[in-house]
Symmetry: C2
Subunit: 555 residues, 2 copies
């Protein structure tokens, strides 16, 4: 069939992209790091379909419902692509009445017909990484563990404390609005206005409340006294002293929650990155208790927003005021936004199941934004593939067969032993081209077969990239009888040396657990310091453990 | 907000399902096993959007195009959900002209608006696991490696040789039809008819060729002499002796390919599960060279098809003849069908890029079918979560605080060390309920905190599920100073003992590499036996390796 040039542009749909090469490797490492944290806390994963019945999504996302992708009506049920992973999870719980308690995580794509902004990491198809704890438990313990998980994820990703978990409670917000005299129907709109305080000055937000939403100036000013407050447990104590607030029932409930939460956060060693922030309101309707949003330096606005910029933004959007959800606003003053967000939603499952409620609390990591931040500062070279050994043939002249059979057989033995290996798909390959291919993949070892060496049952094993003056630069002759063992020992040695080198250089490592590779900062608050801490030198213990294992295995 | 009972049925869309619990754990293990094989061969993964421009998919799937899911026209580009992973890969290669050689794998969902048959593992949303080698190389080397990969995947999944890789070549088929006198326009329809020989007797297929497709009875009979032939290299030698066939140019090219392929398969130790099968034709148009399809015992039809059954099938489908692609036929005589399939497609990329061709060869594993087979025979109990230690409080009476703070702190230390740990979300939990939760998750160790032991800096570490008379049934008191080390040593020991127990019982293990855990059958052809095999006892070498590592680490 003769290829015809297609008449349309070959591209991915708007707001979508392919992931490949170093980007893909980095994204996979981020996923693995996050999933490891989830599993460390007992998380199990579930997988739901990429589309849901249209009715399932209806009435869950307020005015953002217009961003939902529908499938064409080709007969049968009407379906839509999932908009997040939370509503499908609630639907799953409503369908599976035997599942009354679960810690589930879900790393998958969601879809929003939004204005894409590729540089900011805002796409129409993007990944969410969700962890949710569902079930009836004693108050605030799971909520505190979620915040501990947020800390572990960002430490595991190498953020080294450079992030803030903004924390608030819907109960406190609702109480605050009641105390300040906001009429019931205005509570949600006023809440949305408050949520913009991370990118607009108070004067602008006040203006919106009074001029656009119709709130009385007195109520607005009263709100202004509170919503700019930030702190930690001290702020909670301060609020409790305020008689007006302390008299409100919703506020009392919120205070009790936050009291417990701070106590548990301290026990989990997870209180040092939180900021109790009364301006945090979150866009979605379904939150009922604690809410949180994680911001990092890169996600702060570049400059304080002026009225002019705001006007520009409004104009660009066709005169409509910007959306309450900063995740999807195209306000030009917005940085890359929050990198994780979530909260408690106790009534969502009941929207599907009728009477049966399953209270939930969860967190969603904005993986594409996290990826953008890490890839911008990540200096390490990512390996493209994971191959350990490139099997090569050396020889020349008329009689050179290329040793394809022998290369294939050696590769087969390596594969049989679980060792990752490659060969060049050439009958008579040039040595130079084989080295080029190995270098392109970053393969650490070359196993070079030659007629003479093979006749003695030997081959040359050469570590790639050694400096010119290294004693093993030319490689070592090894016996093919011991092929697997010789290769395994060298791979293990190299892995260990690489690890030590990384530690010595103090490189950022987007992998592993907090402090495992990066040297631990002394000033970092030590979790659970008052329950006898383990000895400091981890290396020593690892050696002990390996020795113990070896002794046991040798018995 | 008071929950309202919804007025529609809460379910997933037709032909889709949620994955959770033991099913999900098993599926993840299958994915990991397959991905490990792909990576062992230098595979790297790419990720493409779940939907493509409608035009990209158009004209690629013949009459099956009617099964494509379209997105609703909500303004902007018209898009469709991907139907397979091959066309998006070809589109990717056409877009990225610098990628001229790649071994890519992709494990992701695809979508077909088909009649679902859940028991057979046929869904509208299902996973494909694809591995493709793209690039210009010496002939048949990548093709042979793909077959080696198929073997490694099914051995890794525990099939122990109980599968057959049916093998044929489009060049041989085309030559055969030419020699038998099939007119050019009939070649594709006659090829489709031949492809049904795995579920219909020859008489029925001949009838379809002559009565429905209009082939001459003489040509049909001539085809019948060949297409029932099966064998290995011997069949190839037999065909080469046939003067009619040997005179045909396409046939000669096919013979040359198969000759090389068998030579390379022998070198790769991958020739023992293939069956050169002249009835294999494959449905899709884009194949240009070698084609293959993997069948297993469970996928063979339960009973030979009769005309009556066939009529029933036709009636069920509204009188239309069944589709050429048995993957999607709802013929009641069909088993669960092929479990993997693929071939060489050298012209697909050119359909997008115009002149530039990138020859490709690949394999797609039907993961849902593989899952159905394994889950039907899998006797092992799957762990629901991966937690290592459940941290509990022991105590009673009025003064029992529940030790929530201490449990939280101990958990935090375990998490800091990368150890998976859980606690019950109760302020004052009953010991019984804590054990119940640990048992439900299959957690191997309980760490029990009590006031008295804590006062001495100790806690009880107890392995779960030990028999009544086991000396450690009641657990061991450990010092919290050495908490991490004590736990790590026991986890490592348990892992090693579990491994030995599994080996001793000879259980099927869906994990790891061929022969690593399951005892190796003596009669199994040993790959590359003539290049000095490594010593047999793997355990010995592992011990040596661990000792070497320990010695090195201690230096």
């Amino acid at each position: 069939m003769a290829p015809k040039a297609p008449k349309f542009e070959i591209k991915t749909p708007k707001g979508t992209r392919d992931w490949s090469g170093a980007d893909m490797v980095l994204r996979e490492r981020i996923f693995r790091t996050i999933a490891d944290v989830f599993k460390r806390h007992g998380g199990i994963t579930i997988d739901t379909p990429v589309f849901e019945l249209k009715e399932i999504l209806a009435g869950k996302y307020g005015e953002d419902s217009k961003l939902i992708y529908d499938l064409a009506d080709q007969g049968g049920e009407l379906c839509s692509l999932r908009y997040d992973l939370t509503v499908p999870f609630a639907r799953y719980l409503a369908m599976n009445k035997d599942v009354t308690q679960i810690k589930r995580y879900h790393i998958a794509k969601v879809y929003r017909r939004d204005q894409p902004a590729v540089k900011k990491g805002r796409m129409r198809e993007f990944y969410q990484c969700d962890f949710d704890i569902a079930g009836v438990y004693d108050p605030m313990i799971p909520d505190a563990e979620i915040i501990r998980i947020i800390n572990e994820v960002f430490e595991g990703l190498g953020f080294q404390g450079k992030y803030t978990i903004k924390l608030n409670s819907r109960k406190i917000l609702d109480g605050l609005f009641q105390v300040c005299g906001v009429p019931e129907p205005l509570i949600r709109p006023i809440s949305s206005a408050v949520d913009k305080l991370d990118k607009l000055p108070w004067a602008d937000v006040r203006k919106e409340m009074v001029d656009e939403k119709g709130l009385s100036p007195e109520a607005a000013d009263k709100i202004g006294q509170y919503v700019l407050l930030k702190g930690q447990r001290d702020l909670l104590e301060k609020l409790k002293e305020d008689k007006d607030l302390a008299a409100n029932a919703s506020m009392q409930a919120g205070f009790a929650d936050m009291d417990l939460l701070f106590t548990y956060l301290e026990a989990f060693g997870a209180d040092h990155t939180v900021s109790f922030d009364l301006s945090l309101a979150r866009g979605l309707d379904y939150y009922t208790g604690v809410i949180y949003e994680v911001v990092t330096e890169g996600s702060a606005p570049a400059a304080p927003a002026s009225e002019e910029n705001k006007a520009k933004a409004a104009k660009k959007k066709g005169g409509k005021p910007s959306s309450a959800d900063d995740d999807r606003s195209d306000d030009p003053t917005l940085g890359i936004g929050s990198i994780a967000a979530g909260g408690r939603y106790d009534n969502l499952v009941g929207m599907f199941s009728g009477k049966t409620q399953v209270p939930c609390v969860g967190i969603s990591f904005g993986i594409d934004r996290i990826f953008s931040i890490i890839s911008a500062i990540q200096k390490e070279k990512e390996r493209r593939n994971e191959v350990d050994v490139f099997v090569m043939a050396f020889g020349g002249g008329k009689d050179f067969t290329g040793l394809l059979k022998e290369r294939s057989q050696v590769c087969s033995r390596l594969w049989d032993a679980g060792i990752k290996a490659e060969l060049l798909y050439k009958v008579k390959p040039k040595l130079q081209n084989q080295f080029k291919a190995a270098e392109a993949g970053g393969v650490p070892f070359a196993l070079i077969l030659g007629e003479d060496e093979l006749a003695q049952g030997k081959a040359k094993l050469k570590e790639m990239g050694l400096p010119e003056d290294h004693p093993l630069k030319e490689g070592e002759l090894i016996s093919l009888d011991n092929l697997i063992e010789e290769v395994k020992v060298r791979l293990a040695r190299k892995e260990q040396l690489d690890k030590i080198a990384t530690q010595a250089e103090g490189l950022r490592v987007v992998d592993g657990i907090k402090g495992e590779v990066a040297p631990k900062k002394e000033e970092e608050p030590k979790a659970a310091a008052d329950i006898k801490a383990e000895p400091k030198t981890k290396e020593e213990k690892e050696v002990k453990l390996v020795s113990a294992l070896a002794a046991q295995a040798a018995e």
